[in-house]
Each structure stands twice: as structure tokens, then as C-alpha cells.
Subunit: 200 residues, 2 copies
DNA sequence: GCAATTACCTAAAAGCCTTAGGCAAGCGGA
DNA sequence: TCCGCTTGCCTAAGGCTTTTAGGTAATTGC
């Protein structure tokens, strides 16, 4: 009987499509086997286990996102670059919600270090070249931008902002305006002051 | 034989503890039954299905978070209030990672409207009373704050900032400084300008 | 103390994960 | 061309989780 021609790459790709269709949580070895019209056990020649499969999809999504980010950043600087990268994340999450969810998978440290995740941090840092930030403020700003991008996109995707005025597109552009203004005018550290501190 | 005394409330509470111990994704009807030393089917008298159980835990977490937020905000205003609420989210996520993950569960709209989620939005809006923002900027700011809180906490919890200098506590206080500065100096909308727009 | 309720049980079917071992397809070399 | 080896996909099987149906015993209220 003819072989299906399974590969780790093909599994990752099909798994990513499946994730976008039914949600990342519903991606299962069984479902993927059905999609290839193959018995479940056959996948275990290519994939260690269910978690390995999800890791593959995560890595694929991180690569795609990083590629899109790099393309969007090329030739841009300052606020233009900021908006471009921000939109890459948001657009990707809307086009490929399953893949975006996959990209949030917690990778073990070595896998994370070898993944495209590092390119993401580099791209965010590259944006800050258009603003006058020195260390350690640059790192603080990288983390802030990452938090806003991820937080906004995931809340919006989860329906957190749903159906209330003003529309989320308007808020999104205003948030980018605000981040741009903030980066151009990054505040000096406040004194110890009365601000409540975390107890941990 | 003696009865276990199961209740929706007790199930939610035990489920929350279980989530903190093994992770929200590993919370299962079976595991919870084991914890009560009871057969699995018995839980189905109290809980519709697995998703219903997770919803219960989510609602519990949202309540707890809102209660902590309200307590932290009492008697505070301005940056002090901002830092207090921010720390509530972060501290809660660190103390109760499983519950925090549960709070991110996507609720169906009516459940969401009846949940403590609305109190969260109100609290964030209350903070903005200490800053001079009018609609629609106030809503934009509410969404931005929500994004930063959620995004930062979830990235930090997922290890996104792990083991790199400067430490995350320093970044966190600087991020709050930055948000405070931004809210005190909220920028006017930029013109149409050259900024890249989302294609969607 | 008895009836009615309800809490928990047994039983069973279905789906997913994972491992072990078998057959055959397709490749390399003679 | 034919043979053997590798490897891709298979069958079989055990274990865990979900969910439903229907039974028995504990508790509540009169």
C-alpha cells in the first residue's frame, strides 16, 4: 500500500493548520493522524509524544512570526517600525489564532534558546534604536513592548474588548501612539517614594 | 458509608488548589475525584462536565483577584493606586499560578458579564480617576493597562524574562513608572501619517 | 419512624496516548 | 535484475479521562 510520506515538517505544517481550524488545545495526535488518513501509532515514528508535536507547531509559529517581523521591519525606523512590528503580531494572531496560541507554549530553556524566540527579542530591541534609550532602560522597554503586544493581542483575541465602543482598531492605533510617545520621553526612575511594592 | 460532602463550592476550591499544584491544564475531573477519594462519576452530580469545572475555578479566581484588587485600591489614588493594582495581579499570579491561568479561561459572553470580570474593568477605570483622561482616551488607557498587566505577568510567569539582567522586579517598578508618566502625559492622536496600518 | 430526596456508587462505551512488535515498500549494492 | 536492509506504516493492547445510565444507601423532613 502507498505510503503517506510523513515528515516532522509536514506534521508541523498540518498541525499548524489544524490548530488554526479547531484551536491549539484541540490539536491531538489522533486528529492529525485522521487528517493524513493514517493510523495513530504511525505518527509516533516521527514524533516523540503529544508534547513534542505541540513543540513542533510552536517552533513553526515562532519562525513564521519572526520572518514576518523581519520583513515588516526592513527599511523602517522609529514609530513606523514600532507600528509595523506591532501589527505583525496582531495580524498574525487574527489570521492564525491556533498558531499564535502555539507560539505561547512554554518551551524548555534549551529549546527556547534555539528557537526563533531570540529573533523576536532582537527585533524589539532593533526598534528601540530609533529612540534614545540606554541600558538598562532599553531592556525595560523591550519587556514593556513585549508585554503590551502579547497582552493586547491575547486579550483582544480572547474577546476581552469585545463589542464595546470604541472599536479595538482605534484603541490599537492609540496604544501605538502612546507607546511611541512614551519611548520618546522615557521617564527617569522615581525615588523610593510611597509607591506600594510587591511583597515577594 | 460516609458521604464526602461535595459541593460546587468545595469542588471549585479544591480544583483551584489542584490547579496551583499541577497546573490548570492538568486539572481533570478524575484528579479531583481522587483528591476527594470518591469515584469519578460522583462529581457529575455537581458539575455538568469538565469545562463546567474549569469555569467554576475561573470564576473563583476572578472573584479572589477582584477582592484583592478592591482591598489594595482602598484609600489609594494616582500612581500609588496604579502600583497597588498592578502588584495585586503580579503577586496573585506568582502565589497562585494555576488560579491565574484559570482566570484567563475564555468565558461565554453571559458568564463573563455575570462574573467578577466586570469589577476588574471598573477598578482599572477607577485608577484613571487620578489622571486627567476623558473618553475615549480613558477606554484606550483601560485597555492598555489591562494589556500590560496581563502581558507582563504572563510572560514573566512563562519564563520569558528569565535569568537575564536586569532582574524582573526592577523592570516591573520601572514599567509602572513609565505607565504613570504616560498616563500623566497622554498624547493626542497622531495624524493619519505614514504609520503602517493593519491590513484587516 | 417513614417517605422522599439526594449523594455516591457500579457499569459501560467512547476517545486519546503510548508502547511493542510485525509486514512490506523502497532504497542501496552486487 | 535481484537481494537485503532500512524504515514507514500497520495491528494489538494497556491505561487513563470523559460522560451517561441506572442502582443503592444515607440523609432530610414530616
Amino acid at each position: 500500500m502507498a505510503r503517506a510520506g510523513l515528515t516532522r515538517e509536514r506534521l508541523a505544517r498540518a498541525g499548524a493548520e489544524l490548530a488554526d481550524e479547531v484551536g491549539f488545545d484541540e490539536v491531538t495526535v489522533s486528529a492529525l493522524a485522521r487528517r493524513f488518513d493514517v493510523k495513530v501509532a504511525s505518527l509516533y515514528s516521527h514524533v516523540k509524544n503529544s508534547h513534542d508535536l505541540k513543540t513542533l507547531i510552536c517552533l513553526l509559529a515562532l519562525e513564521e512570526l519572526a520572518d514576518r517581523g523581519a520583513a515588516a521591519l526592513a527599511g523602517r525606523a522609529g514609530k513606523d517600525a514600532l507600528a509595523a512590528l506591532a501589527n505583525v503580531y496582531r495580524d498574525y494572531a487574527r489570521e492564525h489564532p491556533g498558531r499564535y496560541a502555539a507560539a505561547q507554549l512554554r518551551l524548555d530553556p534549551e529549546a527556547a534558546a534555539a528557537s526563533a524566540g531570540v529573533r523576536h527579542a532582537q527585533m524589539t530591541r532593533a526598534i528601540l534604536r530609533g529612540y534614545n534609550l540606554t541600558e538598562p532602560d532599553q531592556t525595560h522597554a523591550v519587556r514593556l513592548l513585549g508585554s503590551v503586544f502579547h497582552g493586547y493581542v491575547s486579550l483582544e483575541l480572547g474577546g476581552g474588548f469585545s463589542h464595546s465602543a470604541p472599536d479595538t482598531q482605534t484603541t490599537w492605533t492609540r496604544v501605538i501612539d502612546a507607546l511611541d510617545a512614551l519611548l520618546r520621553n522615557w521617564p527617569a526612575p522615581s525615588g523610593p517614594g510611597p509607591a506600594h511594592r510587591s511583597t515577594s
